[in-house]
Amino acid sequence: MDRFIFLTFDGLSRGAVYAAFALSLVLIWRAARIVNFAQGAMAVATAYAGYSVATATGSYWLGFAVALVGGLLLGAGVERVVMRFVDHSSPLNGVVVALGLVLVIQAVLGMIYGNEFRPAGAPFSRDAFVVGGVALLSRFDLWVFAAVIAVVALLVLLFTRTAVGLRMRAAAFAPDVSRLLGVNVGGMLTLGWALAAAVGSLAGMLVIPTELGLHPNAMDIVFVSAFTAAVVGGLDSAIGAVVGGVIVGLLLSYVSGYLGATVAPIAVLVLLLVVLLGRPGGLFGSVKARAA
């Protein structure tokens, strides 16, 4: 039983970081109807900037702010300079451009910082509280939970309670109609990219200290897990991203703990099959199955 409790809390703290990154994927999907494969690389780039500032000034929180603002700017920049000019007759064009961006960003980071790991400190202690001999959560885990809950709340507010949020959704779903109705579609797209990238940067700052350290490829594996989480939860739903993240985190922890780490990717595939065959639009999705 101790083992089960330990694995559950281990999975929850992993799941929370997947959820954080999955939220940024949900945001960009809602704002631009695109799965941004460059989201991970962009988050790493801003994390490097954040940690550079943190090291130079000695203030983690200044670096943290720089990473988030950097995310806003990078997201807006990528949309304005590159994505805007992508031909959207095939949605794959955007995917290929995003993959190109991944290569460029990782290469430039490698040139500036080298392809070695660099330390990524955490703002709170990572030592877990031990209750009855079982390690539960650390202060840092609690900080991750708080950040994820805050982001979800803000996203729900933004999309359901504010005019800007409604305009963003309208611009993404029906750009032509929105334009006729006076919505600044281009501006909304830029805003969507900026916000999504900022949430991605936040996720990066939450994930990287729990893994191997800063590295140009630091978010590659996180991207795969978080994308899985977003798909499981349903790409249209912020709540779905959180639920998906927690499910993936728990599954990886239980399977690694009881069956062995090697089996984990197979379990993830089975999870996707089970969820998507039952609900082709994810657990919280509204998309109907392609009639079959």
Binding site: E116, G121, D127, A135, G213, S253
Partner: protein
Amino acid sequence: MRHIAKLAVVALLLTTAACTSDDGGGSSGGGSGNTPGVTDTEILIGTHMPLTGPAAAGYSKIAPASKAYFDYVNANGGVHGRKINYKVMDDTYNPATTQQVVRELVLQDKVFAIFNGLGTPTHTGVLDFLKTNRVPDLFVSSGSRSWDQPQKYPGTFGFNPDYTVEGKILGTYVKTTWAGKKTCFLGQDDDFGRDSLIGFEKGLGAPVAAKQTYVTSNPNVGPQIGAFKAAGCEVVMLGTIPGFTALSLGTAAKIGYKPQFVVSNVGADPTTLTRTLGAAAPALLEGVVADNYLPLNTDDGNPWIQLFKKVNAEHNGNAEFDNLIVYGMSGAYLLVQALQAAGKDLTREGIIEAVQKNGFTGGPGLAPLRYSKDDHSGYGGMRLTKITGGKAAYFGPTYETDEKDGPVQEYAQQPATPPANGIPAAS
């Protein structure tokens, strides 16, 4: 925007066309005699290494360090009057890319030999190709036992002590030092982890109390370390790469678990670990036992370290001096020894014979090199290290053993000092 992009594409196509038209001319085709890659003034050597991608961390500094040492040798007259030209190809640790780049090196660039190709899965794939083309495959950078198959791959030689040898030495130390303690093992789920465990259990003389594995695609060892804690393991051996050593130490600290860690030299370099662990490193690393077979980067009094630091400053852009640089330069030193021994009439058969004759005693390594006609493995032993205050230091004697059931015994010979000019003499 689109017009600019179009212009750029056309310009790029033109440049590429211009650049590829002189293809096949390559760096050095025939040359003197009929030994590929050897002219009167140059020897062309190739390698494959991960320079980019997730596996590059911990490896990308090796090849530049080797190159720096070759440049140092070249600046001092070269080997038998020939300069060494070291061509490094990035394979991102992807075996399919290794296939491409090694073929390019051998068929297109016509290298004399492949030196220090890195990685077990990557290099395994090109063994047959190198054999068919009779390319010397010197000092492979991995501790797999696959390189020691003289009957099947007569041109392939290892460099690192193999993982089983290391496991045996560490296991023997654990058995004698912490007799009766509950001992457990965490290893990478491949030949590294498996061979390491085999050796470790041989050394212990008993199976470990609990064993766990990890995969590099899942950077969370919480469940594994948690299992050790629950099982009450007192000594934990890590057959892990540096990132996962750091992760394991960090995870153990996180859950308030403090066993004695024993770490394979693959993942025990304090400089690399500190890079990942940051400020917490000295506390987490305190007391960790590991092993090595080359001079340690922090041992400023060691003449080899002084030599390598000088080369690093002069020819390597003064890169941060860690054990990867020591590794890269030690390998390069051994290659120069082999080239010196092969003589002025350099042939592919000649260098293989020279390596098999062995006798490379003057190098930086602490343990003996085992090359012979029937043995193509590299270093045959290790010396234990302990980390205190964030720095590793050697203690006790150097041990040697084989990968089978031979005894673990002391190797008494003292390490050599480098020649005055830092270049092995011609024999």
